[in-house]
Each structure stands twice: as C-alpha cells, then as structure tokens.
C-alpha cells in the first residue's frame, strides 16, 4: 500500500493540542512495522506544498458501519498541532478524503527476547513506541517512562497499560507523576535493572541525555529521530543526520527517512548532532 487515496474514519482531540486520526488503510496491519512512519498530504491543492511525516501509532480493524460487511482495516496517527499543516489536519472530519504514503522507513529491531525493555517517550515522541510495545510484551517485560512539560503532554498512557506495560510518568511542572525530567527516571531505573534494552523517541536534547545515560550503563539504545523531510523515500537527501565517524573531510550522512527514522545509538555521531539536525518543533517539550 505505498501511495494511496483513502478516507478518514475519525479525527478527535484527545488532549489540548493533541489529536488522534484514524485512517482507513487496507493491508496496514500486515505492512506496518513498529517505528515506521507515513507521509500525509494535507490538501490535494498545493498549500501546504509538502507532505507531513507522522509516526504510525497503531494499526487494527474496526467493525464496518454497514451490516454484513467485513471489518475495516485502519492505521492511527497521533499528532500535535504546531503549524499550518497540522492545524489544517485538525479541521478534517470523518469521511474526508486524504492521501498517504505508507509505510516508510526502517523501524525498531525488537532486540533480545526475555531481556527487559525500557521505552522512553517525550511528549508526542511516544507515538512510535506503541506498536513496539505491542510486539515486545509477547516475550519481555516492558516499562514505559513517559515525560512531558505538563500533564497535557502525557497522552495515551492507559493504552500502554492495557497491554500490560508498567508505566511511569514525569512532568517538568509536577502536574502529573513525578516532578522532573524523564531522563532522571531512566537513570534510576537503569541503576536497578541489570540487563535491559532502551528504545527512545522525543526531542533531541532528551535523546542526547538518554544516549549519555545508556552509554554509561552499557545498555543498548535505539532512537527514533525527526528531520525535515521533503520526499520521505530517500530521493531528495534533505533529511540527513551525521553518522558515527563523520568528519568534514570524510562526511557520513545517514538518511533519516530511508536508513532511519530508527537508528541504533552507535550509528550516530552524537557529539556533532546539532540541535537543528533533528528538527523537533513538533515534539518540543
């Protein structure tokens, strides 16, 4: 199901500024892997011009509204309204026609069965972690550490809990869960567990901190990055990040859309990932 026209099944505000959109998508359940994303065409006109990238939150089936017809296959995105495109998306309704390119990119590697899995989400960065959790709970203990600026930034937690994931929340203003940064919670958790793997998605400064903590504990880490994207398929080279071993003389750029958005932390050159390398307006905490 690469590029297809389809319709919206539902589009609702789930917390102030955060929306959930369910899109009809035949074949999505089999095709989408945890950590993959889609490119959403906001309008069939040329405003805004480029498609917008969004992580795939989950896939599934819902009963058809017509008796006797088979269930309708869907995929869901969760998005935060930050600019023109996402504002226009929030005006769309059930039944509206949309066009998406999906699934794109490389997702998470599920890691070693049996080992404890720690998922770290910052704000809207939680999105790609849900399908991953669905997969991981089958054979591992899974914890979610979720951080946000205020309680409004903490979304979809109950859905993780329903999967059997143990969840911890922290907010910077203390309005929900522990007061402080999610990375402090991670630090404490890693002091307690001996053998874990970490999967993280959120703003760049958070990912950097997660990387530092995981390296210190010798724990494997995979991160899902954001970057400005035009094509989403590896053709424009607009979305690159600096890879490990990058230097001015011997530059190594990795394509976030094609070689990512999920990278093993050792693939990246953390010392040289500028804040602008992974553009993170959408998930700013």
């Amino acid at each position: 199901m690469p590029n297809f026209k389809t319709r919206i099944l539902a589009n609702q505000e789930i917390a102030p500024g955060y929306w959930r959109m369910r899109i009809q998508a035949p074949g999505a359940v089999a095709a989408c892997r945890p950590g993959q994303f889609l490119m959403f065409r906001v309008q069939l006109s040329l405003l805004p011009l480029l498609r917008r990238p969004f992580g795939i939150f989950r896939t599934g089936f819902q009963p058809s509204d017509v008796d006797g017809l088979p269930p309708v296959e869907y995929l869901e995105i969760l998005y935060k309204v930050v600019g023109q495109g996402t504002a226009m998306m929030s005006e769309l309704h059930q039944g509206d026609r949309v066009e998406i390119l999906s699934p794109l990119g490389r997702g998470f590697d599920p890691g070693q069965p049996g080992r404890e899995k720690i998922l770290v989400g910052g704000g809207i960065g939680l999105v790609p972690l849900f399908m991953l959790a669905e997969q991981l709970v089958a054979d591992s203990k899974v914890r979610l550490l979720m951080g946000g600026r205020t309680r409004d930034d903490i979304i979809a937690i109950t859905e993780f809990e329903r999967l059997g994931v143990e969840t911890y929340t922290s907010t910077e203003d203390g309005s929900l869960g522990e007061q402080g940064l999610v990375t402090d919670v991670l630090e404490k958790k890693l002091d307690q567990v001996a053998d874990a793997e970490v999967f993280a998605c959120g703003p760049m400064p958070m990912l950097e901190a997660v990387h530092r903590i995981c390296s210190r504990h010798g724990v494997p880490l995979q991160v899902s990055l954001e970057a400005l994207m035009a094509c989403g398929v590896g053709a424009c080279l607009g979305c690159v990040v600096k890879g490990a071993g990058h230097s001015d003389e011997n530059p190594r750029y990795l394509c976030t859309c094609k070689e990512g958005p999920v990278f093993r932390s050792e693939q990246l050159d953390w010392s040289r990932l500028e804040k602008t390398d992974s553009f993170c307006e959408g998930c700013k905490q």
């Binding site: 690469p2 590029n3 065409r41 040329l46 405003l47 805004p48 011009l49 480029l50 498609r51 066009e99 390119l101 970057a227 400005l228 994207m229 035009a230 094509c231 989403g232 398929v233 590896g234 053709a235 424009c236 080279l237 607009g238 690159v240 990040v241 530059p251 750029y253 094609k258 500028e274 602008t276 390398d277 553009f279």
Partner: protein
C-alpha cells in the same frame, strides 16, 4: 483517434516528453515502488561528480509558499559508484537514462564526461553548470558566458553522447549563456535550475537553512521558468527542455507551447510520487480533447507573438 506523445531531444527518442528533474528522483530506484519507470520519457539522475560528495550541513530544506528552498549541496555517490551500484538497476529499464553531472574545475568536467561517455547504456548526459550551492564550482560557469562556453567545450571534447546543458536562472540575461552553450556544442538546453532564495526564522533570527541561501523550486517558480524558456527558445536553434514548477499536465503544456520540446518534473515528485504519470495521462487526454494527433505540433505553438 491515436495520439502520439513521442518526442526526440538531442537525438534521444522518448515515448513522451516527461522526465524527472535531476536531484528530485534519486537514481530512479527510490521511486520504483511508486511509479512505473518504463512509462517515463526518460530518467535523469541526481547530479554526479568525479568523487563522492558529502553535501551541505543541515537543515538543508525548508518549505515556502508553493515552493521549497533546498541547499542539499549536490550530495552524491560519485561517478564510479554510480557506474558500479546504480547502473545495474538503470540498465534494465526500457527508458532512456540521462546522467546529470557537474565538476569543480574544467578538468573535472572533462574527466566526468569521459567516464560517463564510456557507459553504453546511458542515452545522454545533462551538464549542470548552474548549481547555486557549491562555492567553488558551478555558479561561475553558469553565470558568465565565457566560462559557460569553456565548460561546455571541454565536456564536448570528451563526449560523443548527446549533451544537454542545464542553465541557471540566476543571471541578468539567460539568452547570453544559452547562446554560449550552443556555440560550444550543446545538443540541447534545459532551463531552469532553482532560483536563489532565502528564508528566515523570525524567532531565532537565523536563516532557516544552514547554508543561509538555497534554491527555490516548486510551483512558485513556474512563471519565471516559462518566461525564460520562451526567451531561450527564441535565442537558440537547439531544443530546450522546460523545468520549473511543473506539477500538472496543464503546467507542462505551458512549457511546450512556449517552445520546450520536453519537460522535467521536480519538486512535484515529492508532493505526489504519481505526479509524472498524471502529467503523461493528462497530456494524452488534452490531445484527445483538442483533436491533436501528435504532441509535437504543440511545441512552440504560442499565439499572439
């Protein structure tokens, strides 16, 4: 009625006049899952250089009104890796392949041309003398008639294949450069490359792309491109390929009527990977509706001159 969309540019036979613009279609394989590459008039690759090129720091792109700015900086695998890793895929296609390339020095232009000339399955080459993003190379060749002549001339001496020269719009008079390229032995011209632009983040007060300036492309530049194609067609005898802001068949028709023999679709591929197929289908439909049996009769059919 049967409509013929076939055109010939610089001796390259194409089943229709629609091809991707260099740098917006990777090396072809990136879009293979989305569009039947064999339906295209030709395929134009990402610009190649003698050695692999890293490109510019990020952020490299930003969206603007009906357009985008990019300063990719011509990141590419280099001509040898192209031959080894990209040609095997391309040579299986039933569509002419045109390699876009550039150099930093006249010697490099000549050397890349020589290596590309040795690839039998390449239908032709497109010489980029117009990239606005590379500090040393490109821009000086594309903006000065004498330098443009020299660059095209050195390539011509090293190349038997059809030679298309791609012009930059970032000049006072594009027809001077067009004539210089023709005089130096170009078989065709493509115009235009991107228009230098700038966008500023008003909160951080920094340029939105790391290179400060970038190349503007997309629907926003179409009227400029149509004007320049029209001017260049009047100034030279060789065929002209129209590029700049094409996303529909109607856009492509504007260029053909202005005198372009074929067209390239760039930024629109990002917006809709099916854009070129829609342009091809739309051209056929237009010809049927208008009772036009051969699309070539439209080329340069502008009225009221």
């Amino acid at each position: 009625m049967k409509v013929s969309l076939a055109v010939e540019v610089a001796g390259i036979q194409m089943k229709n006049p629609v091809m991707p613009a260099s740098g917006t279609f990777g090396y072809g394989e990136e879009y293979a899952p989305y569009i039947d590459l064999n339906n295209l008039g030709a395929i134009v690759t990402k610009g190649l250089s003698l050695r692999p090129k890293a490109g510019n720091p990020t952020p490299r792109i930003t969206e603007t009104v009906s357009g985008m700015l990019n300063a990719i900086g011509l990141q590419n695998v280099g001509v040898d890796a192209f031959i080894e890793h990209k040609m095997p895929f391309l040579r299986e296609l039933n569509t002419p392949v045109i390699a876009n390339f550039f150099g930093n020095t006249l010697d490099e232009y000549g050397e890349v041309a020589r290596r590309l000339d040795a690839i039998p399955e390449l239908a032709g080459v497109e010489l980029n003398i117009s990239c606005p993003n590379v500090k040393q190379g490109g821009i000086v060749f594309g903006t000065d008639p004498k330098a443009a002549f020299d660059a095209v001339n050195v390539v011509r001496k090293n190349l038997r294949k059809p030679l298309i020269v791609k012009l930059t719009p970032n000049v006072t008079d594009i027809t001077e450069i067009a004539r210089a390229a023709e005089d130096a032995g170009a078989d065709a011209l493509s115009c235009i490359n991107t228009i230098t632009g700038m966008a500023i983040d008003v909160r951080t007060r920094r340029p939105k792309i790391a290179n400060r300036t970038g190349g503007l492309s997309g629907p926003a530049i179409r009227p400029v491109a149509v004007r320049m194609v029209h001017q260049v067609v009047q100034a030279v005898k060789i065929p002209v390929i129209g590029v700049g802001g094409i996303s529909t068949a109607e856009d492509a028709l504007e260029f053909l009527i202005a005198g372009a023999s074929a067209v390239q679709v760039g930024t629109a591929n990002f917006v809709d990977p099916d854009a070129m197929q829609k342009v091809i289908d739309g051209l056929e439909r237009f010809c049927l509706e208008e009772g036009i049996g051969d699309i070539r009769t439209l080329i340069g059919s502008l009225e009221g001159q």
